[in-house]
Assembly symmetry: C2
Homo-oligomer: 566 residues x 2
């Protein structure tokens, strides 16, 4: 049997053609998720034989994308299945090693695209851990029992509180620069400077010291919050965790729901979910994602919502959309543009928005809104041109309208198409468009869109609930172009053809700039300042050339560098 | 005679080995600087035969670094030689063409390092134009008489007010993406989104439309401020300029000083200025810049300062330091680290700081402070490791102490060296360290350094004027390491050797992150989000490969792209 290489640059260990983001705790190879009352423990115990791709071993709790997919899943489980949890301890299942970071052989053999996508996903997972703490009131404690190097320390940096055992050898380190000639690019540099607020010269010493920093200096330099003698490590973890858990606002009596597996069918040119369809037009390099509105009205109460569990329409749709986006990102690299369409009754969508607003104090409603926020951020950060096509019969209302505002361009059809008696297209806004889903730069999508004139946001807000037809939506600045039936097909086709004729890289760079007008936050800095520099370095011969540090690592040969500073 | 290739990738047209940043209006080939009372006009009229390098012609007012060096010089002349000017008009000397942007053949043949350095300098020039308007109260009006494409429109974007002739063909355009597969990377994308606040979907259309936008739409989309019929163009420029000039706070009676040529001597391993020495240790890949304190006390009055003109110590030092930094950046690519040293009497330096504070309402004192601000920003943005060595006899006081805080690391020697009876090393702070010289992110260097604890800034502030010896400076967090004479030589040597052993690219990326903790501004976004993405694209085969768009431009052959989106 011929082994097909994944676009990641290697053959997937499970023999499949695509990386799958769906998993569940019963299938974890690298993590244990233990829940004991209101305390959860996430134990990292990487199975070195269970790499996502063939060709490397995940020694010393080093990780690849497969390890991070499980971690991301575990956080989702904690959010939805264990809402009573008030504190989470992250620790290692190995002796004297916390985590050696991203696996170097995996990185050295990965394609550029996979390196970039791997870092993006791990960044999203770490941002998700911080979001979990901030917005779900769950304290996160990282207990470092040995060496936390590179991505291992970057993982720790995502926690609220970092404890380091003081045994004379345990240390935190960011050895990427001296060892591999790349950056601590999974948030490391940004979290050191902007979250831990390590003084810049200390950060300089730290990031150029292969062996890292340990003991008292690690606390003095703000790299960890506490060092604890080995003999007291376990008991201190328990007492700190109890202290933090006591401060959580989470309800210890909340009962979780089950995140049941997504129902998906993959075919050659489509993925069919229950509320989402993805169609690939490979010749045109397009993926069309159609989102379906709810088939039934919202339930009568929050309890009824909880009974529906993962079947509750907004939750199901968010999970399916997230999976669809990740599938395109990692497995469908030739897709130039994602086209968003929708079908359904806008009033039905709005009814769910109102339901979630009315139950905003219920943990599940809050978690669903937060999931939508993160999925929409994932859309913003997806390096494909994003296009919304708003056609008769569509339901871009409230939460779903955010996809229009997340798009690089949107087209709305004026009136009806010949022979089509579905309701004319339009947009309906809801409260959800004015604060529920901030982008990574802290602005709402409408706030970012109307940076020139905040009064345009107010004007749009005043029309919440009203169906804004094509011309009205254009007048309000909510869509790019409103087109007649006569022009629609040609204009859209010409635009999409043009898009796929452009340099994919230049589009990525342009979109990464134009999507994020206005302020930057620590989160957005990770994806702009840090990631963009890291991606640059990931193209430089000093890192990836035959004599570069990534290629030479572990060979006993020193890398040879082009000495020019650029 | 063998023609030596400059690190820029070509032979310099003037036959020299290094790019020189010193010029004056009598030598301009591409610009005319006309001053008429309180109005200045900068006419861009590029001599196509006078490219900086051999091998291309600067057609259609396209530019290379040489053109921008003249523009930067002209702005400095306006600041110092024409302080009565209250408004500046930027316009073209060519018929129906404003500026075609950066010359494509120049770019296509440039080394990666030169592309990056060229963009950085042009960015600094454009930021300088904005700074001139904001801080010197000089209105800048750009009058576009034809096509302003790419860097041509980016230049216009630096002005306060953009006028476009409405003649049916004149347009503004950012055709980089469709034409060349690169970004409008000299501030273009960021100024479109963050300064002009163009709606993101309009920006998307604009930046993917080769021919650009003209007429009424250009105003509606906020790309220009006004379109003016051709018959009224000249008179409207005059009336607008008058209106803006009337609002300036500049004194129309102010008398300028002459920016006399710098006195410099280049030798094989050194550049000697009057107040600055640069020494190259090429084996160690080091440049040591020694700044000399003032030889005389400050003058008795602002008028006396003006009489000294370019000989006034703080002005001379700033200009010489700026030239030294630019020389290293563009001509000495192998330098891994810049070591800052100083010699002189700290009290003398402080006296000048006090003098500038006392005369802060005098235009010349204000311009000198502003020049220092820009030179220090240039230091922050220099992609070399920056090290301050504070030794006996040094004068890192007030303004000069900013170089310590701009450095990635600083070392101070405790007490005296054997056989050296110069005063022990230390740092003295002045008011200038607490607001006069903001970084591009808007923070003072001490504010950025002490992000974790703003009280540390206050504590430092309380000690203004006091000589903080090595140990005290370290205690206050103002330096990285205080070392005894016994350890000094070895520690410093080992550190510098280590630095030059690391990957130059990884250092560039690390330093670009660690130097800028905290908020981002439009200016800092240009150098982080935009520049870092552009540099990435400048490494991608879709732009620079043999079949890439930059290489294929003008050949009649279409570029061939790797279609993978990354």
């Amino acid at each position: 049997m011929a082994e097909a290489e994944h676009p990641g640059g290697r053959v997937l260990s499970n023999g499949k053609a695509r990386i799958d983001f769906q998993t569940d705790p019963s299938r974890y190879r690298h993590w244990q998720l233990k829940v004991d009352g209101d305390i959860a423990t996430l134990v990292m115990d990487v199975d070195e034989k269970a790499g996502l791709f063939e060709g490397y071993e995940l020694k010393l709790n080093s990780y690849d994308l497969g390890v991070d997919i499980e971690l991301a899943d575990a956080i989702e489980r904690l959010r939805f299945e264990h809402p009573q949890v008030r504190a989470v301890v992250l620790r290692s299942g190995k002796q004297r090693v916390f985590c050696a970071g991203a696996n170097i052989r995996m990185l050295a053999g990965a394609t550029h695209a996979h390196k970039v996508n791997f870092c993006k996903f791990t960044n999203e997972t770490r941002n998700g851990i911080e979001d979990f703490s901030q917005n779900s009131s769950v304290a996160t404690i990282c207990a470092i029992n040995g060496t936390a190097a590179g991505g291992g320390y970057e993982l720790a940096l995502a926690a609220d509180y970092i404890m380091l055992v003081d045994d004379g050898s345990a240390a935190v380190a960011l050895p990427e620069l001296p060892l591999l000639a790349v950056l601590p690019g999974t948030g490391g540099l940004t979290r050191v400077s902007d979250k831990r607020k390590v003084r810049r010269d200390h950060a300089d010493v730290f990031c150029t010291t292969e062996e890292g920093v340990k003991g008292k200096r690690a606390v003095e330099w703000r790299l960890v919050d506490e060092v604890v003698p080995g003999s007291k490590f376990d008991e201190t973890i328990v007492s700190r965790t109890r202290e933090f858990a006591a401060k959580s606002k989470r309800d210890p009596a909340a009962l979780g729901i089950k995140l049941t597996p997504l129902t998906r069918t993959f075919s050659a040119d489509a993925v069919e979910y229950e509320t989402v369809s993805v169609e690939f037009d490979r010749a045109a390099r397009l993926a069309t994602i159609t989102l379906r509105g709810p088939a039934t009205p919202p339930p009568s109460s929050a309890d009824a919502m909880a009974s529906l569990g993962a079947g509750f329409w907004p939750l199901k749709l968010a999970r399916e959309l997230d999976d669809a986006i990740l599938n395109i990102r990692l497995n469908e690299l030739d897709v130039a543009a994602i086209v968003f369409k929708s079908s359904g009754d806008p009033a039905g969508v709005l009814a769910y928005d109102r339901f979630l607003d009315a139950n905003k104090d219920h943990w599940l409603a809050r978690e669903i809104r937060d999931l939508w926020k993160r999925v929409l951020k994932r859309v913003d950060l997806t390096s494909r041109s994003l296009v919304a096509l708003i056609e008769p019969g569509s339901c871009f209302a409230g939460t779903l309208a955010e996809l229009v505002f997340a798009s690089d361009r949107s087209y709305v059809l004026i009136g009806n198409r010949e022979g089509d008696n579905r309701p004319p297209a339009g947009i309906v806004l809801s409260d959800a468009n004015f604060g529920a889903y901030p982008m990574s730069n802290g602005l709402t999508r409408l706030g970012c869109r109307f940076l020139a004139n905040p009064a345009d946001v107010d004007a749009a807000k005043a029309e919440r609930g009203a169906m804004l037809d094509a011309e009205r939506a254009q007048q309000r600045g909510l869509v790019t172009f409103a087109l007649d039936d006569i022009d629609w097909d040609d204009e859209v086709r010409v635009f999409l053809e043009e898009r796929s004729s452009f340099s994919p890289d230049a589009l990525t760079g342009m979109e990464a700039n134009l999507r994020f007008a206005g302020p930057e936050t620590m989160e957005s800095k990770i994806f702009s300042r840090l990631t963009a520099w890291q991606n640059w370095i990931f193209q430089r011969p000093n890192a990836i050339g035959e004599e570069g540090a990534l290629k030479r690592y572990g060979t006993g040969q020193k890398p040879v560098f082009d000495t020019k500073r650029v």
